[in-house]
């Protein structure tokens, strides 16, 4: 049922002419983004370029000032849309994990299953256990976030997203708050998700991951998409000066 719109649209996410202003400041100046089923789209760009804002417009955590967002063909920016229903189909993973500190890992993953999807506790917990197992944390179900490492916390957050069986997951710098040695475990889970066919939009500075996992890389700057293409194209043949200098600054040579 959650996939009822799949047939109707070739795209999981479509965003057209997205503008977003904060007061006088225009953070997004007309961005178009389409994501096909099972595609992994990577968004890169300097700080303040509007990457997070763009991502957050896709599930309306940020309301676009102008433009249209569709999820599996359904326009979610139009009036009368039940945003809580739509958000069940759009997972989101945050830089700061944002796990609920008063709940165990299992509680974190099963809360929305129970209270949003209205599953019985046992059914929700079975599903939550399965999701935790998938991110390699089967044995941590009873632990609270403070008892987990950053990498484990982020994997619980990913489990929380996948347990809802969404059509797409949005990742906003999922590894930026992690110690370098913990980054790998999270990327490993993301790679596994990608291989299983999950549609993903990832904002990240992990260029290596972008190179070998992304289908498409989008470079944003100043609230606009400046360049986009295959990882190969973006990283080996940057055309705009802005992308060249950005790549130069992140790779450090």
């Amino acid at each position: 049922m959650a996939h009822a719109h799949d047939i109707a649209s070739k795209f999981v996410v479509e965003a057209y002419d997205i503008h977003k202003s904060f007061g006088d400041f225009e953070a997004l100046k007309g961005v178009n983004l389409t994501v096909a089923p099972q595609e992994l789209v990577f968004i890169i760009g300097p700080s303040g370029s509007g990457k997070s804002t763009m991502l957050r417009c896709c599930n309306l955590l940020e309301q676009p000032s102008r433009g249209q967002v569709k999820i599996t063909g359904e326009e979610i920016t139009s009036r009368g849309v039940d945003i809580n229903e739509v958000r069940q189909r759009i997972g989101m993973v945050f830089q700061q994990f944002n796990l609920y500190p008063h709940m165990s890992a299992l509680g974190n993953v099963s809360l929305a299953l129970r209270k949003v999807k209205k599953m019985a506790r046992s059914e929700a917990e079975d599903r939550a256990h399965a999701a935790l197992k998938r991110v390699g944390l089967a044995d941590k179900a009873g632990n609270h976030p403070t008892e987990l490492s950053g990498g484990q916390q982020q994997r619980v957050a990913i489990a929380r997203a996948i347990a809802m069986e969404p059509d797409v997951i949005l990742f906003d710098e999922p590894t930026s708050a992690l110690d370098p040695e913990l980054v790998g475990s999270v990327l490993e889970v993301m790679r596994e998700l990608r291989e299983s066919g999950m549609t993903m939009v990832v904002v990240s500075h992990e260029m290596r991951f972008a190179r070998d996992a992304a289908d498409r890389v989008i470079f944003m700057d100043g609230g606009l998409i400046v360049e986009e293409g295959t990882p190969e194209r973006i990283f080996t043949d940057p055309r705009s000066d802005r992308l060249k200098s950005f790549l130069h600054s992140v790779t450090g040579h």
Partner: protein, 223 residues
């Protein structure tokens, strides 16, 4: 030493006034418990309503809270006790003391809960909302449990401070423990009844502080 013992721990005086002080103790503990339960619940209810940000409603809540925090409880008590009959409302002194003190506690508690609610990280809201949980669900399952845990220590302090005001109820003729003890003290010309009252207060407030410590450690989590 002997005179001290005689003055404060005169067993004969204690035995004589024990029934009176015990009756006062029962009144005090009834009043205290009613005030604590209703005050804390009403305060939480007001904070929850305030979270919905309905303008006129919020103004009313803020007015109520500021008024009750500004006025000394004694003044409110007297206004209610002597004022209500004029508008045709008669209630027992106990009920009036209960309503007034519970309202005072609710006013302070509302502010404390509210501070707790607003101090919950914005990321908690976003994470919950992104899973499709609505505003109310997020408030109840994610934000309020965290807010309450943060507010236990200041809430305990406030609760104890305000609950001690049960002694004020004597002004409106409630036969609570401290009044009884003072009357007995005057009759007996001996302070032993007051000692009993002191023990009575310890019996009420020690378990309260212990319960709050227990709740605090039980639900503590490190950040």
């Amino acid at each position: 030493m002997e005179r001290f013992l005689d003055q404060f721990f005169n067993l004969e005086v204690m035995a004589r006034y024990l029934p009176d002080v015990a009756a006062g103790f029962v009144v005090t503990i009834q009043l205290a418990l009613s005030v604590i339960v209703t005050g804390l619940l009403l305060g939480l209810l007001l904070a929850v309503i305030r979270a919905f940000q309905i303008r006129p409603v919020n103004w009313l809540i803020i007015l109520f809270v500021d008024l009750y925090r500004a006025l000394p409880p004694l003044v409110i008590l007297i206004i209610f006790y002597f004022g209500l009959p004029f508008i045709g409302i008669t209630m027992s002194a106990f009920v009036i003391a209960w309503i007034v003190l519970a309202s005072v506690l609710a006013a302070f508690a509302e502010e404390i809960y509210w501070a707790g609610i607003t101090s919950v990280n914005k990321g908690q809201w976003e994470a919950a909302r992104s899973t499709g949980l609505g505003f109310t669900g997020t408030l109840f399952y994610v934000v309020i449990p965290q807010a309450i845990r943060m507010t236990i220590p200041p809430l305990t302090n406030r609760t104890i401070a305000i609950t001690k005001n049960t002694a004020l109820a004597s002004v409106v003729t409630v036969e609570e423990m401290l009044t009884v003890a003072q009357t007995s003290l005057a009759y007996a010309a001996n302070t032993s009844p007051l000692t009993m009252a002191a023990i009575g207060y310890l019996l009420i407030f020690f378990p309260l502080t212990m319960a709050s410590r227990w709740v605090e450690t039980r639900y503590a989590w490190k950040r």
